[in-house]
């Protein structure tokens, strides 16, 4: 009889566990839905290519779910951006290595596809930011953000746009809080200088 009661308790526990798992999955879905667009825009600015940006966001989502979905939801935001930041850094590194090899093996670029300059985001082409703003300011902001070094741009976007505090940004960028402050300070200085004419 005790065994039967234990089994019934065990099945009840399993049912509760399934309910908990479903609730966790809903929370995870809501979280990913909340961050996916900003994550894509960050990847857009880093790569200058929508398809590559989507691939990076996909990698980041898969990596986040695989490694960090079991963590408390309060920790999800910095951990998700940590994975995304890692993917962006990897992409940037691969891109630099490829550019170096291409410049080493060919004195002149064979075609536009392999030309790093041609691959760079076209600052004259109005991006989503400029299209939305429909103004010179939007275009200038997009261009200024794209021109920022990756680490400075990530510090600015995570702190000012995503609203992470210094500690969470440090977690996301895998660096010290002091480094976050330095990157952010430099980013603000660059943006202030680039946008000065538009905001006066």
């Amino acid at each position: 009889m005790h065994q039967l009661l234990n089994t019934i308790n065990e099945q009840s526990w399993t049912a509760q566990r399934v309910d908990t798992v479903k609730a966790d999955e809903r929370a995870l879905d809501q979280f990913l839905k909340a961050v996916e667009r900003r994550a894509l825009r960050m990847a857009d600015m880093a790569t200058g290519n929508r398809e590559e940006a989507l691939d990076l966001v996909q990698d980041a989502m898969f990596g986040f779910v695989r490694h960090y979905a079991a963590k408390p939801s309060a920790e999800w935001a910095p951990l998700f951006y940590r994975v995304l930041d890692s993917r962006l850094n990897d992409w940037h590194r691969r891109r630099q290595v490829r550019s170096r090899w291409m410049s080493f093996f060919s004195t002149a670029p064979a075609d536009d596809e392999m030309d790093p300059v041609a691959q760079a985001p076209d600052l004259q082409e109005p991006g989503p930011l400029a299209r939305v703003a429909g103004k010179e300011i939007g275009q200038a902001l997009e261009a200024a953000l794209v021109r920022l070094p990756l680490r400075q741009r990530q510090a600015f976007l995570l702190r000012m746009w995503e609203g992470l505090d210094v500690a969470a940004t440090a977690t996301a960028m895998r660096c010290s809080e002091g480094s976050v402050k330095t990157h952010l300070s430099r980013a603000l200085a660059h943006l202030r200088r680039d946008l000065e004419a538009h905001y006066e």
Partner: protein, 129 residues
Amino acid sequence: MNNENDSAWIAQATTALDESARDLDAATLSRLNRVRQAALQQKRGRRISWMLPAGLASACAMVLAIGVWHGAVREPALPTLPNAELVHSVNGSNGADDLEMVANEDNIELYQDLDFYAWLDTQNQEHDG
């Protein structure tokens, strides 16, 4: 623009960034949705890998527990039978009689010729009479 005015232009910048994220085209939003669902599906797949054995183990434990429980309920019923010892001995004796009858060849022949012995008995009674 100086450091004191940072908050103003940063607010404008983040508003512009918010709008750019909100107004993504339908194809991009569809792709993002598919990516999100695929990530969640990956999580479901990992969960099923431990839930299936756990469910099977629970079902087996349930069946085993019911079997044990039924056995435990039947066993106490035996002492309540009236005079179980007598029933046992009666059943034993019936079995022994049957065994003796089958084992003894003479008895079998006797049972096979019962009609003859019945006729013989009537003849004897007529003679006596």
